[in-house]
Amino acid sequence: MIGKLDSRIPSGPIEDKWTQCKFENKLVAPANRRKHKVLIVGTGLAGASAAASMAEQGYQVKVFTYHDSPRRAHSIAAQGGINAAKNYQNDGDSIRRLFYDTVKGGDFRAREANVYRLAELSVNIIDQCVAQGVPFAREYGGTLTNRSFGGAQVSRTFYARGQTGQQLLIGAYSALMRQVGIGAAELFTRTEMLDLIVIDGKARGIVTRNLVTGKLETHLGDAVVLATGGYGNVFYLSTNAKKSNATAAWRAYKRGALFANPCYTQIHPTCIPVSGDHQSKLTLMSESLRNDGRVWVPKKQGDKRPAAQIPVEERDYFLERIYPSFGNLAPRDIASRAAKRMCDEGRGVGPSGQSVYLDFTDAINRLGAETVAARYDNLFAMYEKITDENPYKVPMRIYPAVHYVMGGLWVDYHLMSNVPGLFVLGEANFSDHGANRLGASALMQGLADGYFVAPYTVGNYIASEKQPVIRDDHEIVRSTLAGVKAANDKLKSIGGKTPAETFHKRLGKIMWDKCGMARTDAGLKQAATEIAALKKDFWNDLLLPGDSSTLNSELEHASRLADFIELGELMCRDALERKESCGGHFREEAQTAEGEAKRDDANFCHVAAWEYQGDGKPALRHQEELKFENVKLAERNYK
């Protein structure tokens, strides 16, 4: 069992902590950096930016992705934008305000010091990306422009049309490819991490599978950096890319890394509603649409008239009504739950009654269709392709969907897990967003972690540790490799009748119904029973055709699903133990008279960090108390 969790937050006032940390860090001299090897898993914003930056510093960098190219990582799909406290709009923004908004947006369940650093570094990110040639939107005078996003009353979101994630990732990817081109970083594509090698309690390497040849290999180094994204696909249907998975993080958990707040998931309010059983994924419509779109449902239950025939006085613009000061830009968790309440009251629209309108009629009348098109045309076109409805003519229909996870591997201020030498960046860690992430903050965190935090803190770790040389024939390296082979063989040997896809859908339904937007004590207990049964069926009846020595997407899916099932169990357990509501975690037992989330600061103002205890044994729950010295703990109010 591990000892007390040490978050290693530097002393001193919050404004000086990062400066202090950097000053206290030990350094590796430039000529010595080439002697040290860093293994970076994942090439999204966090992984690509960390790999590029550490290769520039002179470390030997090996970087891994299961995609055919680093540029395919799911960061590419982020639409709306990236926050930064530049105050270019002269509207009273500051590092302190971005810090405050993020802590409050996270419903006071994030670590203050980490969030402050994030806000502080946000301004450097914009500088770096512009220098790389990222084509952010601009004013006629040539300066950068901004738009507004949920949970903020200032305009601080930088964007590149509706493709901000793509442009930022291409920036980080090109920086990485520059290092690959000059031989400073070694790139392994179509290579999936399947285990973490821990020797003398420290992360020293990884086991990978070449997805084309099936060959298992080991890679050893001084530190391992996981930037492997989130686990939203545990719900089967989510806005995540199809291959996004929890495997790297989960296998690190099974090697001793703590998993923090797994139940904190973000349900995004504006997604295209489910159209049928064949649905393979859900598509997000950027939050930026809520700048101009108005969300409404009919006042009457079961009103089946087309939207245009419902007079204004018979419409309920419920976000504007309930949250007048933030209106349609209420934070994601709040807006999602409000939409769910409307549908639960029988006022939902569309064939299934499981959607609400996002209406641009007023914006088109006020600004003209051309201006609206300039802002959102690519999103409108995407909506029309999927639904066959033209949002210039009929209001969009939207419904909440799983989008992001705030939970992830536990890390300290250095972004190092409790396993020394294992660093976790971006969505894969738990650190900055508390129980709810604000829009346009995921890109900010991925790039802050990768460009500006890890290159300092990983260097400090390397300088502080004297590592013995490990070779491939080390007993633990060999046994870890053998374990991965045995696990793959076990999947292959089941010889059942049910494909992985079927099990995945079944898991998704359990999670969405019982550990989704609303959770109850009875429901979560029921989910645990159902997942246990699912797990048993999976290991008895999985059908897995094909060979493990060639490209075999069925094997990849089954291997990832095995981890999702175990993670689902832990998420339900975490949700059950956290008897309060906070941010995206809504326990029906804990709500105010108006149906808002009711926190319990006396008992739950902490991070829950779970320790693996072995197969079939319940995980052990640790707590890291959260102290709020700069932001007053208050009821989160957007009214």
Binding site: R72, V130, A131, F136, G142, E554
Partner: protein
């Protein structure tokens, strides 16, 4: 909907490939093309057969993974649409549909519909970047870029690296892909210091990978899911010629 599919199956790079016929029933017109293939794969797996390997990930038209010829068109019949955004309502009930991988020598087939497009990454690695180490950047607003210029740079930057342009080209030229990056970085002032080296190095790598020459037929532009314009190639050619006459 009922469909008759003819799908290219190939076990590996050196193995022979062939079209295999599959009949599908009960396809919803609201399915995406990839969801239709998911349905096929589920059926195959249930019969204990190997699934058709195809590339996909975001299914929102932005990651650039999906890569298949549908009835001879890269990404299928619709303009400005990646395969994942193509829906079955675009096909007639009872249609026969041919599905093949990208065909180009620099994109060797790995398995079924999956090809190796790493040649495109190697072109980027030669010069598709601005050399600015982390921490070196000046304050963002010290670089002023007019709105129109920023928009024009975006047009090239929007490339998703799918390789449809190569697949569409009778010469298997990667000119549209390469020129989109060159043109993006030549337009913004941050890209100017390396203009000369960039265009020469990227064009040399494009040739070294075995991509063919551009003969200006415009098939690439017609196939591009991001509707990247042929003018980028003209701009690349200008940049290339310029690089031999301008001292920097």
């Amino acid at each position: 909907m009922k469909l008759h599919l003819r799908v290219w199956r190939q076990a590996g790079p050196e193995k022979p490939g062939k079209f295999v016929d599959y009949d599908l029933d009960g396809i919803s017109p609201d399915m995406s093309f990839l969801e239709m293939l998911d349905t096929l794969n589920l059926k195959l797996v249930r019969q204990g057969e190997e699934a058709v390997e195809f590339e996909h990930d975001c299914r929102e038209g932005i990651c650039g993974s999906c890569s298949m010829m549908i009835d001879g068109n890269p990404h299928g019949p619709d303009r400005g649409t990646a395969t994942c955004q193509l829906h079955m309502r675009r096909f007639a009930d009872g249609a026969t549909i041919h599905v093949e991988p990208w065909r180009a020598k620099p994109f060797p087939i790995i398995r079924d519909l999956t090809v190796d497009r790493s040649a495109l990454d190697r072109i980027i690695a030669k010069g598709g970047f601005i050399s600015v180490n982390t921490g070196n950047a000046p304050e963002a607003n010290t670089t002023l870029i007019g709105r129109d210029l920023a928009e024009a740079a975006f047009e090239g930057a929007a490339c998703i690296g799918c390789g449809a342009c190569v697949a569409a080209c009778k010469n298997a030229s990667a000119s549209l892909f390469t020129s989109a990056k060159i043109s993006h970085l030549a337009k913004v002032p941050q890209g100017h210091p390396e203009r000369k080296h960039r265009v020469q190095a990227m064009v040399a790598q494009m040739d070294a990978e075995g991509f063919g020459s551009c003969s200006n037929t415009g098939a690439c532009e017609a196939a591009c899911p991001k509707e990247i314009k042929l003018e980028n190639i003209a701009e690349m050619n200008r940049e290339w010629a310029r690089s031999f006459f301008v001292r920097e």
